[in-house]
Amino acid sequence: MMPNRLIVDRLVKHFHRKQPYPQNIQLTSLQKIRHRLRRKKEVIKAVDNVSFQVAMGEIYGILGANGSGKSTLIRLISTLLLPDSGQISFFGYDVVNDSFKFRQMINRVSVEASFFKRLSSEENLIHSARLYGLSARDAREKAEKILVRLGFDSTRMDEMMEDLSRGMQQKIAIARALLTSPILLLLDEPTTGLDPKSKRDVQRFISEIREDHDVVVLLTTHDMVEAETLCDHISIIDNGKFIATGTPKELIAQISTQGDKVTLEDVFIELTGKDLTEDVE
């Protein structure tokens, strides 16, 4: 029987970047040219031997600072990056070898809404839905239902994306992902930069998705309260490595001593030495 879970096994993704100019030394134009010609490539370990599994109906959170490897991990699962080594499989389908089948099961919401800004939200949604085999009529009906649940005024669906607020755009992005009924939903910082009301609407909706649908949700976030409230399991990622994994309670218990009131943020700071509040984009 096929395992009905997302399995990420010893996943590795490195990038090669040319060394930047030294920050602390003022270089002349000639020196810059010389440096440009001679500079070597450095290896960035974006995802470094990461393994985890997520069962159906579970929300799995990944906490990390900017540049820790969260988005690279999501892109690898989204088939947008090829892993250097390791495996990702879902329902027995491999992300590289069965990428077409894999893509039929997933969708994603990223931190940037990413739409054609001069097209209306309706036009953007219908275009996306058509790529997944939905008709324009079905897409419109389904989108309206999702958007109403997200607290979006569906009469504004004919307005251009650039005229909508960031919160509204993000709700459209969530509708785009859910229109296609994914069973693996990748949420890459879906609430970053949203106003409190939109943030609450989105978080409530994520909880409802889990209750209403048989779905695996992978959520990356900066928001500790969001992670604690929504996620069944959490991994903390730092420099591409998972440095801690467990339920929110288990993570808190790792550093809690008797009588102390410890938060998930304390756990994060303790384990990574970084403060996420300085890091929010």
Binding site: F15, L131, Y132
Partner: protein, 268 residues
């Protein structure tokens, strides 16, 4: 399983989206149309009073056909550039669609858009060149067949050119500009290729624009039939048969590289 109806609907999604974008950027389209009309006019007017009606038509054909072919080449790669700028490329590449379906949709849009734009420019031409152009010898059927066959090879070139913006939108546009200008130089758009240095004429012989222009000029100036132009049409067909699969293969390699190096992110 490959479901042809579903794939046709997905291809249509790209055509529909591009026409929607065209409507939303109408001011830019008006600018492009104006430029195309003025460009064809100014090139044709060079010969008015200096040469025969045939000479004027020779230049006007060059301007119109080059306008059409360059649109075809550019639109396929512009579709990728646009998606890189808007950040939607990740969503398109994440969708369960075959790349061939995606690119066929972009190619069909390029053909329709190229025909629309060139058709409008063509309709305006008689207003300015009524007495200076002689279309009595025109064989419209040969011209239409040539345009159709030539579209294949230019789609192939467009597919190859589309990898440049896939890897880098800004540098990609510059690279495509260079490619386009080289084809303009070597293909005898406004002159016979024999005036070029001999070493450059070698490249003219592999450019599909060379045979397209030869065939269309013969059709419009000398009433040449399809049978008369069979040689040029077969060469165009062969170039198309080679460049289209080659274009898809090169695009596939570019996509694999972009996925290895992490180049599909939003840019701009």
């Amino acid at each position: 399983m490959f479901d042809i109806r579903r794939e046709a609907e997905v291809s249509y999604a790209f055509i529909e989206r591009n026409f929607n974008l065209l409507k939303r950027y109408l001011n830019w389209e008006i600018l492009f149309f104006t430029y195309s009309i003025v460009n064809a006019l100014t090139i044709g007017l060079i010969m008015v009073g200096r040469g025969s009606a045939q000479d004027v038509l020779y230049l006007v054909i060059g301007a119109l056909i080059w306008g059409f072919l360059s649109i075809m080449m550019r639109e396929v790669s512009d579709a990728i550039t646009w998606e890189r700028w808007e950040g939607t490329i990740e969503y398109t590449f994440m969708a369960p669609i075959y790349r061939i379906t995606h690119l066929v949709g972009s190619c069909f849009f390029a053909i329709l858009y190229g025909l629309l734009r060139t058709g409008i420019v063509l309709a305006v031409m008689p207003l300015f060149f009524r007495e200076h152009i002689d279309l009595s010898q025109a064989n419209w059927l040969t011209m239409a067949v040539t345009v159709l066959v030539a579209s294949l090879s230019f789609i192939g070139i467009g597919l190859m050119a589309a990898i440049f913006p896939l890897l880098s939108p800004e540098k990609g546009q510059a690279a495509n500009g260079i490619l386009e200008s080289v084809i303009l130089l070597i293909s005898g758009v406004y002159y016979e290729i024999e005036v070029l240095p001999e070493w450059l004429q070698l490249f003219s012989r592999i450019s599909p624009a060379t045979y397209t222009l030869r065939s269309i000029r013969a059709a419009m100036l000398e009433n040449s039939s399809i049978a008369d132009q069979a040689h040029n049409l077969i060469l165009l067909l062969i170039i198309g048969i080679i460049t289209i699969p080659l274009g898809f293969w090169i695009f596939h390699l570019g996509e694999q590289y972009a996925k290895r190096a992490g180049r599909l992110k939003r840019s701009g």
